[in-house]
Structure formats: structure tokens, C-alpha cells
């Protein structure tokens, strides 16, 4: 019992020798010494590295980040010119990485859940089709998929100038969307006066839909009354927005892409490199997520399905209300690592010239400044921070769905 009493409050006081002789302190002493040795060891290695780098004329310096980059980037989510600094070029690259990672994570999840559920379908054709999808995409390297999609689109889609002339070879879809071998051009929103209010209304109706569904569920659980959710959700989503749109005098309009000079102008340009990278990452990782989903569903005892069916539930409701909520506990942890894979695999962007952070900081900046060690360190730091953030967010979600044992 004495070993767990407060060490400082002993009757016989504290002597230096007790650090070694007393079992209460001995382990702390050794751990402290080991920690010191570790710190000095690492410190020595770092100073040795720096000294040797300096001896070879390779001083670690971050000054290059403040110098003008001198090169242009095609996809610029924030303002950037060739006169901006290398630091700004790195930030542009970082945002481009996050854009493609976000898009790919969402699409891969949707694709994976659909394919995973359908692979367990009783319909032979559907389940076999999904098996083929999973096996085909999972077993070919993602780099190959990126290149296949990129080359296929650059050769199959028409050039922008094929859209020109009185009898053009190609034409736009609904005069609004142009598929070219330089990417897809879609209309963009032009915000006029009062557009802020319109977007607020739209945002409020989305929140409203969730609030309504929550209310319907609590009503179901407390009284057993089942409210319809389909058409009221749709109505809440659309009606206020439409009303506001016309009441405010159509503040938001669409700007259509238009062929001017060498390329389409206006509208939003989804570049070929972005689409290739996004689709390849989505279908490749989607195949893995499909397997996670299938594993999660099969982990739920068949008795659950049978019990729900015995209560008279329809197959769709069984999946949505009984199976998936339980399966999520098994699905979420491997899903986190798939999201991390997408983020890290997005560095393959260089293969199709998508200017992510590996292309800017780890590519052109590194090549032009020769600051390889600094650039690679920053790159590692960036991917580490992003990956840890994704893990943290997904772990919060995992805690909210996992089985709560009281």
C-alpha cells in the first residue's frame, strides 16, 4: 500500500539516494534518464546533419519561400501570378490538393456504398456486375487509371475549335455544358443585387430539411406516428428558394461558357487533369470502400434481417433502419484509412500535370530553387497535418455511431 502513497509526504522525508534505492522512484529515475539520452541523441544527430549539410554548402534556409516563384499555375483558387512568392505557390498547390481530395472522398463514398450494398443483392446480374467493378478497379494501380482516363478524354473529346463554324463538328449540351479535350466547361453563377439573401434562404431550407426529418423521427419514436418525409423534404428544399428568387427579382443568373479566341471563356473550367485525377481516385478507392461496406453488412448477424422482416419491414427499410446503422460501426474505421489513402494518392497528380502541392512545392519550386530538403520537409508536414485532421474528424464521427456501452 505504501507504494501508492504520495511520495513527497513520506514520514522519513526525501533523500537523493532514494531515486535509485526506492522502488517508488527508481522507475521514474530510469525513465527520466532514458528520455534525456533520447533527447540528446536526437539533438546530436540533428546538429550533426546540419553541420555536415553546411560543410557541403547545403545550408537549411527558408528564405526561398519569400522569393518570386516565376512560374504560372493554371488552376488558381486564390489570386496568384508568376510574381507571387513560392510560399503562395505552395498554398495554391495545397488548396488544389484539398479540392481534389474532398471531391474524391465524397464520390468514392457514394460509389462505394452503392456498390457494396448491390454486391450483396439477390439479383445475380447486379451482384456479379458489382463484383467485376470491384475486382477490376481494385487490382489495377491507380496511376494507370489516372492515365487511362486522361488519355481517353484527351483523344475522345473534341477540340474547342470543333465547336466553331456554321456546321460545327461538336456542339454544347443544352448550350450550357461543353465537353472538350481540355476539360469540361459548365455555367457559373453570377451574383447580382440581393443574391446574399437568396443564398441565405437556400442555406436555411437545407437546414430546414434536416430539422423536419429530425422532428419526424422523434415523433415516430415517441408516438409511433409515421410522417411522410419524401415530398415534404423536397418542398422545403425548393419552395422557399424559388419564392425568394422571384421575390428578389432574379438576383442570381447563370453565365454560360462561350467560345472566344482559342478557348471557351466564362463559366467554370473543370480541367482534364482535375477530372482524370478525381474520377480515377473515386472509382479506385470506391472499390475498396465497397468491400468495407460489404464486410460491415456481413458482420451483422442474419438474425437481425430475419427479425426485422418478421416485424413486417420492407427490404429497403431493413437496410436503412436496421442493418446500416449497425454496420457503420464496422465500416467507419477502415473508411478513415481509405480517406487518408485518397489524400496521399492525390500526389500522383504530377502524372497528368494537376498542380497540387507535390506539383508546385515539391515539383517546380524544388527544381528551380534546389531547396530539396526544405521542400520535402514542408511537404511531409502538410500531408501529416491533413491526414491527422481527417483522422481526428472521422474519429469524432466514429465515436458518435459506435456502440455505447454503459
Amino acid at each position: 500500500m505504501s507504494t501508492i502513497s504520495d511520495p513527497g509526504a513520506g514520514n522519513d522525508g526525501f533523500r537523493i539516494g532514494m531515486l535509485i534505492n526506492d522502488t517508488r522512484y527508481r522507475s521514474y529515475t530510469f525513465q527520466f534518464l532514458a528520455l534525456l539520452a533520447l533527447i540528446f541523441g536526437i539533438g546530436y544527430l540533428i546538429s550533426n546533419l546540419l553541420a555536415n549539410l553546411a560543410a557541403n554548402g547545403l545550408n537549411i534556409s527558408w528564405a526561398f519561400l519569400g522569393e518570386p516563384a516565376g512560374y504560372d499555375i493554371n488552376q488558381r483558387p486564390i489570386e496568384y501570378t508568376s510574381q507571387s512568392t513560392h510560399a503562395r505557390a505552395s498554398i495554391v498547390g495545397a488548396i488544389n490538393t484539398l479540392i481534389v481530395a474532398f471531391l474524391a472522398c465524397i464520390s468514392a463514398t457514394v460509389l462505394g456504398i452503392i456498390a457494396g450494398v448491390l454486391r450483396l443483392s439477390n439479383n445475380w446480374i447486379v451482384s456479379k456486375l458489382m463484383s467485376i467493378y470491384v475486382e477490376a478497379f481494385r487490382n489495377v494501380p491507380v496511376l494507370i487509371w489516372i492515365l487511362i482516363i486522361f488519355l481517353a478524354m484527351s483523344n475522345a473529346f473534341p477540340q474547342p475549335r470543333d465547336f466553331r463554324g456554321d456546321d460545327p463538328v461538336a456542339s454544347m449540351w443544352f448550350d450550357a455544358v461543353a465537353f472538350t479535350n481540355r476539360g469540361v466547361y459548365i455555367p457559373s453563377f453570377v451574383n447580382g443585387e440581393g443574391s446574399g439573401i437568396f443564398w441565405l434562404v437556400v442555406l436555411a431550407s437545407i437546414v430546414g430539411v434536416f430539422a423536419y426529418r429530425r422532428y419526424a423521427r422523434s415523433l415516430l419514436y415517441s408516438t409511433g406516428r409515421l410522417l411522410p418525409t419524401g415530398w415534404p423534404s423536397l418542398a422545403i428544399l425548393i419552395a422557399p428558394g424559388l419564392l425568394a428568387f422571384f421575390a428578389l427579382g432574379q438576383p442570381v443568373s447563370l453565365q454560360y461558357p462561350e467560345l472566344r479566341g482559342f478557348n471557351f471563356r466564362d463559366g467554370i473550367h473543370l480541367r482534364l487533369s482535375l477530372i482524370a485525377l478525381w474520377f480515377a481516385l473515386a472509382i479506385y478507392t470506391g472499390a475498396f470502400i465497397a468491400e468495407n461496406v460489404r464486410a460491415g453488412i456481413q458482420a451483422i448477424s442474419k438474425g437481425q434481417t430475419e427479425a426485422a422482416a418478421a416485424l413486417g419491414m420492407r427490404p429497403g427499410r431493413i437496410m436503412n433502419l436496421v442493418i446500416l446503422p449497425q454496420a457503420l460501426r464496422v465500416i467507419i474505421p477502415p473508411l478513415i484509412s481509405q480517406y487518408l489513402n485518397i489524400t496521399k494518392n492525390s500526389s500522383l497528380a504530377i502524372a497528368v500535370g494537376y498542380m497540387d502541392i507535390t506539383g508546385t512545392l515539391g515539383g517546380i519550386t524544388l527544381n528551380q530553387t534546389g531547396r530539396a530538403i526544405e521542400s520535402i520537409l514542408l511537404l511531409m508536414l502538410f500531408y501529416l497535418i491533413v491526414s491527422l485532421s481527417i483522422s481526428a474528424i472521422m474519429n469524432v464521427y466514429n465515436n458518435s455511431v459506435k456502440l455505447k456501452e454503459r
Binding site: Y44, N48, A51, N52, G70, Y71, D72, I73, N74, T81, S82, Q83, L151, S154, N155, Q159, R161, N181, R182, R260, G261, F262, N263, R265, L272, S273, I350, A351, G353, M355, G359, G363, I364, N367, Q368, G370
Partner: protein, 339 residues
């Protein structure tokens, strides 16, 4: 103590590298072949022909050096290198010399510790467009999509050119030259930009070369030449003066046709005599025999013949001499005197 061990190891490695570097000539002679770094394939400059034999303008420099040193222009081991691996291959001693469309720049010469032994092609960055685009000057390219090989100086030259002319463009960075050509011919970009010699060379391999034109603008200086490791001056001298021998031979009218005749006995022109070893001891000073330059010239002819046979106007690459004419014809090709 650990530090001293590491430093000791570094010193030993440094000594070993120094020793290896100082004896490139002996290494090449002992090996019996010259290891020469070339591109992975640029038509006209360095590319294996249908029989797998390397041919081209840069390859000719390798063969001339091999002939001068080893007496056999075919005693060359060609090592294909990429833009990223070329300097490591040379620095590590994997190759004895690099003859690979490499621009002579301050930082490569000084910082990367290499020695450029001359310029065998004066190049500059240019633009290629499809002919039916109707563009005649790069200044008309406002808003165009430009394919560009990433990780090279062309990226910076391009940004500077468009900025100084106040016009916009959409860069499409591509990892390799062949992929960029593929996108360009598919029409994914309006313009393809790289060194003008490479543009002409790659255009020659297109299905319809006449459908594409190279625009007149030259937006950068790219002196291309062979290079060796810093520190081995004897070897550097051999490569430098072999190239100079080819250039001088053209200037003095020594060709592969008349060289046997001229080298039989000393003639009236003392410089030809010194070059071909019928007079003086220039070969001995280099650590070679008297006929080193004669052999180098006999492999592929003088500089002018090498140019004409590989990339000249009669070949399908079709490059004019331009800046690469002899200084006596208004070009920049100029060799110090042989004396």
C-alpha cells in the same frame, strides 16, 4: 567520436571520388569503352536506328571522343538518361561524359560542379502551333493553351515571355516530352513549347509534319554542349579539344573525304598539319597519340558534316545552320586555334 567516424567515412569517400575522377582517361582505356550519357531518344540528336545502333548529333560527339581515345568510334556504351537522372549519373561516375541537349548555365557549371567543354548547338526556346490556326507570331497567342514539359527552365521563360508582352495563357504542365507531344497532336493544347531544335526534331516524327509550324520568336538562350565532372582537367581537355577538332576541321576544309589524303604527309597549311598530327606534338600534350584528331574526324566527318547528316536541311529534321554556322559564315561556332 561518432562524428569523427562519419567525417572519416566522408573523407575516404571524398578521396575515392577524387581518385576515380582524376583517372577518367585511364578508366576508359582500361575498360576499352567510353560510357556516354545521351537522351532517352530525340530524333536527330540521339536515337537508336532500326538496327539498334545509336545515331545523332550528340551521339557523334561521343563517337568522336571514343575514336580519339580508344581508336574505335563504336567503342561507346550509350547510357540513356532523363532530365532528372542525367546529373546524378555524371556526378556518380556512371558515365564518363554527358552529351545530352544540356543547357550551359551558371548554376550547373558552378554549383553542381560540372565542366562544360564547349557548345555544339546554340538553341533557344520556341513555339510550335498547328498551321491551320493561322498564327504567325507568338504575340498573337493571347488566351492560348500551352503544353510545357514541367521541371525545366522553359517554364520560367514562358511565364516571363507572356508577362512581358502582357498577354494571358493557360499552362498545361506535362511530365515527359512524348506525353506533351501526344496531347499537342490530339489538340489538347494550341501551342507546344520547348527548345527549337527539339521542336523541329519532334515535328519530324509527326504523322503530318507539314501541318505544324515553328513560330519565329526565340524567347531564351540555350547553349547546349557536352559536359564532364569538375576536377579531372585532363579528361575535360580531351573532350573539349575533340569537339574543337571537329569544328576546326570544318573551318579548314578538312572533310571525311579528303582527310586520308591530307594526313599522308605535312602539307602547306601548318594548322592542318598540327591538327592531323603530321607536325608538332599536340596529341602527346593531351596524353594521346598524334593521330587522335584524325580518327575523331574520320568517324562522322567534321562539324559541318555531322550537322548536315543528322539534323541539317537535307534530313527530315531540316534545321538550318543559323547561329550554328561557322564564325566565318556569320554564326557562333568558333574554335580556339590549334597551336
Amino acid at each position: 567520436m561518432k562524428k569523427s567516424v562519419i567525417l572519416g567515412a566522408l573523407t575516404v569517400a571524398g578521396l575515392a571520388a577524387g581518385a576515380a575522377g582524376a583517372a577518367t582517361l585511364d578508366d576508359v582505356k582500361a575498360r576499352g569503352t567510353l560510357n556516354c550519357g545521351v537522351t532517352t531518344g530525340v530524333p536527330g540528336f540521339a536515337e537508336p536506328d532500326a538496327n539498334g545502333v545509336w545515331q545523332g548529333f550528340d551521339v557523334a560527339v561521343c563517337r568522336a571522343v571514343a575514336a580519339a581515345v580508344l581508336g574505335d568510334g563504336n567503342a561507346v556504351e550509350f547510357v540513356p538518361t532523363t532530365g532528372k537522372t542525367r546529373f546524378t549519373a555524371l556526378a556518380s561516375g556512371e558515365i564518363d561524359m554527358l552529351a545530352r541537349n544540356t543547357t550551359w548555365t551558371f548554376s550547373r557549371d558552378v554549383d553542381l560542379k560540372f565542366e562544360f567543354t564547349g557548345v555544339n548547338y546554340y538553341d533557344g526556346q520556341g513555339f510550335m502551333v498547328p498551321k491551320d490556326l493561322g498564327v504567325t507570331s507568338a504575340k498573337e497567342l493571347d488566351g492560348a493553351t500551352v503544353c510545357i514539359q514541367t521541371g525545366t527552365t522553359t517554364e520560367l521563360n514562358l511565364a516571363d515571355f507572356f508577362r512581358s508582352n502582357g498577354i494571358s495563357y493557360e499552362p498545361v504542365p506535362i511530365e515527359t516530352g512524348s506525353e506533351a507531344v501526344q496531347l499537342f497532336t490530339a489538340g489538347s493544347c494550341d501551342v507546344y513549347t520547348t527548345d527549337r531544335s527539339a521542336l523541329a526534331a519532334q515535328r519530324a516524327n509527326f504523322a503530318n509534319p507539314d501541318d505544324y509550324v515553328v513560330l519565329p520568336e526565340v524567347v531564351s538562350k540555350e547553349p547546349l554542349g557536352p559536359l564532364v565532372r569538375h576536377g579531372d582537367h585532363e579528361w575535360g581537355d580531351i573532350v573539349r579539344w575533340t569537339l574543337n577538332a571537329l569544328i576546326t576541321a570544318e573551318e579548314l576544309g578538312v572533310t571525311s573525304d579528303n582527310i586520308s589524303e591530307m594526313s599522308m604527309e605535312a602539307g602547306n597549311n601548318p594548322e592542318i598539319n598540327r591538327l592531323l598530327g603530321t607536325e608538332g606534338t599536340l596529341g602527346e600534350m593531351l596524353g594521346l597519340d598524334a593521330e587522335w584528331a584524325k580518327r575523331a574526324i574520320m568517324v562522322g566527318g567534321n562539324y559541318g558534316e555531322v550537322f548536315a547528316n543528322n539534323i541539317g536541311e537535307s534530313t527530315n529534321i531540316g534545321l538550318a545552320r543559323g547561329l550554328n554556322a561557322q564564325w566565318t559564315d556569320g554564326g557562333l561556332i568558333y574554335s580556339p586555334p590549334f597551336r
